[in-house]
């Protein structure tokens, strides 16, 4: 998946595309694209006319032959653009497919740990399999027992191994990845053929590509425009007859093809495929094109504070004891509560206790201690040593715990907590049994440059909401420092879901990312839900995108890619329609000058002859498709700014440019073909 973006001129991409573009000329396939299908039909007509001209040895056979050639070229260039866009995905798909070799699975039978070897595709959902070091995991599943380091580079391109363990938020494993150490038992959650890897292959290959809502709407518009031009062209013979002349059918065909929006019609599917590929290159998999489009429409971004806005690890910076408690006493309890806590915060408390008070780490085993891990519901962790319960955690959670044990809350505690929170830190209250000891000041470090990113988002009209488990005061301080628009403090999964619902009721589209099982409802509710690859199966199923790098900051890039996709479509549509003006000025005088010679004055480009004018228009029309393939694949350049600014710029470049460019282009083609004597 780490396939680097390849150059467009890479022969490894171009050669197969040349071939598959030919196959795509099949009318049964092409009918999905009404504009190009129409071109193909009239190209066939042109061939028939050419054959007739040849048969009767008409002097215009050279002209009709060239027209027929360029009409076919127009269709071919369109299918080629689609083929080359798919080709880039195919290269990625092939790399993936190699990892899906015929693995053998060790399916557990009975309780005793016995297993039988069966082929991976024969596994059923719910089967339990044993995976040992060096084995490829045979299918998507969930670790139900054990911890292992897993090499997921086949999927993510990231070579550093990751930890997968039962329970918690890192339980999902993907078929085709390799276990490096330890043995795990995995429950298979996806049948062969519908696994994550299979879906990825299908997605990047574009095999499952259904038209997105917006693409359908645009196709209708283009088909409607084509119909209008059918009318405009089909009535010309009658007009010409009134005026006492005849317009050759092959000329009508040429006019029709230049007028209908072939440029956007030819490049439309390439743009869509390229948009998906751009995401894939960012190591994000969209489960549907619809999700990519929705990303462009997002109004509200819900961002987890930790890891996105602040550096993942908060550092313990200070112990602030209550009156009557020494700092050392507080540090001692905090250290005990943190010894088994593998979170960065827990580790930083141990480090601070040693640095500030010289407290060394102790072995937990001889203390007969039970570690109480952090949970999103309890919002505290700690340790039970015999009957002594040491806890550290969110202020309200620990205070509730102290109260339930019958303890009193000293008034000073509130003041300490509040001061820490106001300074933007996270207050962690430490208690021993029913006695509150004081506060550990955890310092949050806001990522460099994130403030500017949020400013960009605001300019694009996107509101950012920081989601954090912190209390409102801490959250407000960090929100102010990071420059987010709003925050949701003391967030529970339910609060997150409620927030999304509220925003959506106001007509807004919401994007969020998440990894835990408890994020699943919110991920499913959000319009764009990006699940982390490291997350649980439930989260991955609920989201409509998966981030293989598990980097929540990427949500911002995803929005940009969605917008770029829509902008590219709009820009090329505008360009395509604006082109028509020049094409009319090329063909209409050429067509009617024989009927009314003064109409030659409309030949503002000064094209050499009626025949060269018509040929130039049709050649320009074909070549512009090829010329715009790189733009279609790369997307129009995009810098985050307000809609008004974007529109002004794009209207100028693609609207005005689309009006002017063909006048120059057609004139140049005319000069070229007349100088080599083609017309």
């Amino acid at each position: 998946m780490s396939a680097q973006p390849r150059s467009l001129l890479d022969p490894a991409l171009i050669v197969p595309a040349l071939g598959s573009a030919l196959l795509k000329l099949d009318p049964r396939q092409l009918i999905r694209n009404p504009v190009m299908f129409a071109v193909e039909v009239v190209a066939l007509v042109a061939v028939v006319l050419f054959a007739r001209d040849l048969a009767v040895r008409s002097p215009s056979a050279g002209f009709s032959g060239q027209l027929a050639f360029w009409l076919w070229a127009t269709v071919y260039f369109a299918t080629f653009s689609e083929a080359i866009a798919e080709g880039r995905g195919k290269a990625q798909a092939d790399a993936l497919r190699r990892t899906r070799s015929d693995t053998m699975a060790k399916r557990l039978v009975g309780q005793g740990g016995d297993y039988e070897e069966i082929a991976a595709p024969a596994l059923k959902v719910g089967d339990l399999v044993l995976v040992e070091p060096g084995d490829l995991i045979p299918g998507d599943g969930e670790v139900v027992e054990g911890v292992a380091t897993v090499d997921e580079s086949a999927i993510t391109g990231e070579s550093a191994p990751v930890i997968r363990e039962s329970g918690g938020d890192r339980s999902a494993v993907t078929g085709g990845t390799k276990v490096l150490s330890d043995r795990i038992t995995v429950r298979i959650t996806a049948a062969s053929g519908s696994s994550f890897l299979d879906r990825m292959i299908a997605l990047v290959e574009g095999a499952e590509r259904a038209k997105t809502p917006n693409e359908i709407a645009l196709t209708i518009l283009l088909a409607g425009l084509s119909l209008i031009f059918v009318l405009a062209v089909a009535t010309i013979p009658s007009f010409a007859a009134y005026s006492g002349g005849v317009v050759p059918v092959v000329v009508l065909v040429a006019l029709f093809v230049t007028l209908i929006p072939t440029t956007i019609g030819g490049l439309l599917s390439a743009i869509g495929i390229a948009g998906m590929n751009r995401l894939v290159r960012f190591n994000v998999l969209a489960m549907s094109g619809r999700a990519v489009e929705a990303a462009g429409d997002v109004d509200v971004l819900l961002l987890d504070k930790t890891g996105t806005i602040t550096l993942g690890n908060r550092q313990a910076a200070e112990f602030r004891p209550l009156p009557g408690v020494t700092a050392r006493e507080l540090a001692d309890a905090a250290q005990l509560a943190s010894l088994s806590d593998e979170t960065p915060e827990g580790r930083s408390i141990v480090v601070l206790a040693k640095a500030a008070h010289g407290l060394r780490g102790r072995e937990m085993a001889p203390l007969a201690a039970t570690f109480i891990p952090f949970s999103a519901q309890a919002r505290m962790s700690g340790v039970d040593i015999g009957a002594t319960k040491i806890r550290k955690g969110a202020a309200d959670a620990v205070l509730k715990h102290v109260k339930t044990l019958g303890g009193q809350i000293p008034d000073e505690l509130g003041a300490i907590v509040e001061r820490v929170a106001r300074e933007g830190g996270t207050p962690l209250v430490v208690s021993t049994d029913a006695r509150a000891l004081g506060v550990v000041y955890l310092k949050d470090i806001v990522k460099g440059g994130i403030r500017e990113r949020f400013q960009e988002l605001r300019a694009m009209g996107i509101r950012t909401v920081m989601i954090t488990g912190d209390n409102p005061m801490t959250a407000a301080a960090i929100a102010a420092e990071a420059g987010v628009d709003d925050f949701l403090a003391e967030a529970t999964p339910e609060a997150k879901l409620a927030l999304i619902r509220k925003e959506q009721e106001g007509g807004k589209l919401v994007a969020m990312c998440g990894d835990g099982t408890n994020d699943a409802p919110a991920l499913a509710q959000a319009d764009v839900g990006v699940a982390m690859q490291t997350g649980t199966v439930a989260a991955r199923e609920a989201g409509n995108m998966v981030d293989l790098d598990s980097d929540p900051t990427k949500l911002i890039e995803i929005v940009g890619i969605g917008k770029q996709l829509l902008m590219t479509r709009g820009a090329l549509t505008t360009f395509s329609i604006a082109n028509d003006v020049a094409k009319y000025f090329a063909i209409i005088p050429a067509m009617f000058v024989a009927l009314y010679p003064p109409l030659g004055a409309l030949n503002v480009m000064g094209l050499a002859s009626p025949q060269s004018a018509i040929l130039s228009a049709i050649i320009f029309n074909a070549l512009i498709i090829v010329a715009l393939v790189p733009l279609a694949l790369k997307g129009v350049s995009y810098t985050p700014s307000s809609a008004a600014a974007l529109l002004r710029r794009n209207l100028l470049v693609y609207g005005l440019g689309g009006l002017v460019a063909p006048f120059i282009g057609i004139k140049l083609v005319d000069l070229a073909i007349t100088s080599v004597g083609l017309a």
Partner: protein, 569 residues
């Protein structure tokens, strides 16, 4: 062109602009069901009508029932007019003793008036009795105009409402349009016209002795009452054949100004109703801005073309400084004839105060283009607004993508269904115009109606099919359209141009009304500024104009080049 001429044009524009907000505010309150200053008098009458008809005024209709009610109403209207015209000979108020109207002419006229086209294949004072003018035509003038207003309000509701099933009630909208707007205003206007010298009588035609001692029949009738609604309802069907060029139908510069203002008044005010209903008046001004830009460009071109002399006339020694006065009334002159021609074709009215056939080629081209753009430059009452809103949907869809979001207009997402229906609506008028033209200019029955041959004859036919499909009703006078072929062809064109557009348009309204509203943000495509105005103008010109480019080239454009080259064909 003279300073005086431009000042007359400026005065007209200023009056129309000044009326937009007060009239818009009144209409907004009326259609929202709020009380207006007319309610104390008219509300009981309104309630009486509902009780008589058994209509519940606040019962919401879905777009489909709204459309069905509208269609049923028009079928009834058609049968009534057709019957009244056919039976004219035996009905009262027929002092001249005119016979019943022929079937094809009655068909054409009935469709013409129910579709707000007012194409006149008949000569008013030579064919129709006072009774027919009053109960067949004038009644439809009110009803077709009120229908246009109702439809526009229904579409606006589609944009304004959120997650709604209904788009209003056709019967209520229709009744209110007639009762509170058209009827009171027309009573006032009719009295003003009478004061300015327009006849209003049921007496038979007068016979006068001329200075030479010859007998001259002077046609009279209830002119003022029909004139008022003909203008305000953008109907355009003249009492007399010469329409508003006739001294009894448009006696002075003042009556001319009032007529032009009343053509634009409601159409322009409806843009403000749109703005108010979607909660941002700037949206309405932007629409009016796009209309205004196209309008001023048209006026400038026609005025310039008509103020210039015909090179062929100049070549034979005629004074070029008078401009092209052929077919124009001396009491209006070049500027007011040019302005009237642009106003009447921009607005789907079709009344004329000069003969467009006698305009220079370019001067005749602009009125045609105005109609071909879909009559969206202010447009027919209601029809202009829903026409340009459809173009706005296309403009927003094409360009809105360029800001990187699913296109939305005044908070409504424009998706596949709206695009499909909008394209369908926008397709019907070009189809009707071009297909009818393609047939008419090759079959002998069609060619027989043309006065000229060559490009000018082509223009006459193009003007007629355009005018019918656009529901304008004005004519390039050279065409003799009262033949079975032209009567039937144009009747079909008028039907398609009206109803084939309305039904998908109402479906768009229904589809939009059902959507929720996206709140605006910095990422929203702004549709209230000059950028959008320019874009909308561009889309109207490209979508509307390019379709007709070949036909226009062979008609007025070829005509213009030929005239410039001194070719008198």
């Amino acid at each position: 062109m003279t300073i005086n001429g431009w000042m007359q044009i400026a005065v007209f524009c200023a009056i129309v602009l000044a009326l937009v907000r007060p009239l818009g505010g009144f209409l907004f309150r009326l259609y929202a069901g709020a009380r207006t200053f007319l309610h104390p008098v008219l509300a009981p009458v309104e309630r009486g009508f509902y009780r008589l008809a058994g209509v519940r005024p606040d019962a919401e209709q879905s777009w489909a029932s709204y459309a069905l009610a509208m269609l049923a109403f028009h079928v009834a209207g058609f049968l009534a007019v057709y019957g009244l015209l056919r039976l004219q000979g035996v009905l009262p108020l027929n002092p001249q003793g005119f016979a019943g109207v022929t079937p094809d002419l009655a068909l054409n006229t009935a469709i013409s008036f129910i579709t707000n086209t007012d194409w006149q294949s008949y000569g008013g004072e030579a064919t129709l009795s006072y009774g027919s003018q009053m109960w067949a035509l004038t009644v439809q003038n009110f009803l077709s105009a009120a229908t246009g207003m109702a439809l526009a309000v229904a579409l606006i509701r589609g944009f304004a409402r959120r997650s709604a099933k209904g788009i209003g009630n056709f019967w209520t909208d229709l009744t209110r349009s007639v009762l509170y707007v058209l009827l009171p205003a027309c009573i006032v206007f009719a009295l003003i016209y009478v004061a300015l010298g327009v006849p209003q009588t049921l007496q038979p035609y007068l016979t006068a002795k001329t200075l030479e001692g010859a007998d001259q029949t002077i046609a009279l009738g209830p002119v003022a009452s029909q004139l008022a609604i003909k203008m305000l309802g953008t109907n355009g069907g003249g009492f007399f054949n010469a329409n508003s060029a006739h001294p009894f139908e448009n006696p002075s510069a003042l009556s001319n100004l009032i007529q032009m203002v009343s053509i634009f008044a409601i159409g322009a005010a409806l843009t403000n109703v749109f703005g108010r209903m979607v909660g941002d008046e700037r949206q309405g001004w932007a629409i009016l801005g796009a209309m205004g830009a196209l309008f001023l460009a048209g006026v400038g071109l026609v005025y310039w073309a008509e103020a210039g002399a015909n090179p062929i006339h100049a070549a034979i020694g005629l004074d070029p400084s008078a401009g092209n006065m052929e077919g124009k009334e001396v009491r209006f002159g070049i500027a007011l004839s040019a302005l009237f021609a642009v106003v009447t074709t921009a607005a789907s009215c079709g009344a004329v105060n000069a003969m467009h056939d006698s305009f220079s080629a370019i001067g005749g081209l602009i009125p045609m283009v105005n109609m071909q753009l879909g009559e969206v430059i202010v447009g027919g009452v209601g029809a202009g607004l829903y026409g340009i809103l459809l173009f706005a949907v296309v403009a927003v869809f094409v360009a809105g993508l360029m800001v990187g979001r699913t296109p939305e207009y005044v908070g409504k997402k424009i998706e596949g269904r709206e695009v499909k229906l909008t394209m369908l609506a926008l397709l019907c008028s070009p189809a009707a115009t071009l297909l009818a033209l393609a047939v008419a200019i090759v079959v002998p029955a069609g060619l027989a109606g043309l006065q000229e041959s060559g490009p000018h004859g082509f223009s006459e036919a193009l003007y007629a099919t355009t005018s019918a499909a656009a529901n304008n009703g004005s004519a390039f006078a050279g065409l003799t359209a009262n033949s079975p072929f032209w009567n039937v062809t144009l009747a079909i064109g008028m039907m398609i141009g009206r109803f084939a557009l309305i039904v998908p348009m109402l479906a768009v309204a229904g589809s939009l009304a059902a959507k929720s509203k996206v709140p605006p943000s910095a990422g929203t495509f702004p549709t209230h500024g000059p950028l959008f105005v320019g874009l909308l103008v561009g889309v109207v010109l490209i979508m509307g104009g390019l379709t007709y480019f070949p036909a226009l080239t062979l008609g007025p454009v070829a005509d213009a080049f030929a005239t410039a080259a001194g070719d008198t064909r």
